[in-house]
Amino acid sequence: MSTDLPFNSEFRSIPSITGHEFRRVIFDPLSIVVFLFLLLLVFLEGLRSTVPSGGYGSLVARLIYGLYPMGQYFAAVAMFIGATSLAEERSRNSLSVLLTKPLYRRDVILGKFIGLNIFLLLFVFSVYFAYAAVLFTLVGVPVSMPDFVLRCSSLSLAMFFESSLAMSLAMMAGVFFKILKKK
């Protein structure tokens, strides 16, 4: 009888860790607070766009300049979830329990990384989608919808990559530095 494991058996734990990490951050109070604040900002930016002399011209330009200041919020949320990802597990001693299970450390890190990136992708895209919806409602539909969708997606992706970098750096810092203990 062969004792070799199937190739994909080593990676079966990653999706469950990914799902757990995603559920952890999506219900995190900071994510919810920042998301609601960004929705408010999106609404205010949209209201501002209704002023005849106050707009930037095209809808794409409004999308770029209106969402430009929100990049720091995405980075702040990314850094928070990245830094607390492993650090909180360590402080609650659940990381020690996790590592006694038949899990590779690689799977734990990969699963958390993928889960957090999925959350960031959804977070960024939902804010951009909300802003586009507000602009369509208050200002009007763009002349070329495919062009607008492509530009909006490109901007969202760029913002997602920036946030993902911030999250990765924070995750690395969370591995190395001692965390703030939750009482």
Binding site: L44, P69, A83, K183
Partner: protein
Amino acid sequence: MSNVINVAKKELADLMGSWLVIFVFAAYLVLTAYTAYQFYNILSNHLYIEGDLVKTFLCGVSIILSNYGSLLAVVIGFASISSERQGNALNTLLVKPLYRDTIVNGKLLGALTFLVCMYGFAVILYTSGLFMVCGNLFISMLPEYLAGLPFVIGISLAYAMIFFSISMLLSILFKNLAFALSLGVISIFKSETTSMIDVMQGLSILFGDDVNTIAGWLPDGIFGEIVFMLYRSHPGMTADLSTVWLDVIKLLLIMVVIVVISYIVFLRKDVS
């Protein structure tokens, strides 16, 4: 009174020994040095108005102490509560024969002293940088620069204390310290974003108020107005403090209100 000073001394010692504070302060000094270095390009390419250089220098000080210093203030506010919570010292402190307001007075005094020392250090570093970058040109403007420094430091300190108090309040309210620190940092972004013209125009459409009325009550709006009136609006003219006294009072009022709220929460909340 001696108890307040004892608590303040302890707070000062704790802040000096906090790795988080030391790390953030080191990053802050790097930013300060970089701000001073930027004058090298400004002077090399003659990108300044003659007779207005002192105002530009003082504007640089205000950016260092308010924009970057507010982050330092948030970290100090967070560290003053979190270090006690982590080490279980807060509960031990509260069972001692000390009034709660003695503890919070001592913490405020210790943190304020620490912040003033850090700001002084940053200003010395910045001024040294200006000496190195500008040379004889800066020496000729030194008396005017030194005359304008106390007001800039004072108003920047008032601005930073707002965020210090917010950070301390959040650390008292929330048990999750990482959440409290992140929210404190985000409060700086929120203050900056809400003061932006786009958002204020949106608020004015929503509430029907004038943009200037709304900006006149936001910390960033008030501080920006003071800096603009003193250092950017009248090239070549000396700063006239009488034009900004109302904005200064508003800023101090916001600071006092947030400190009082922190007081009330600390006095009433169970911090176990």
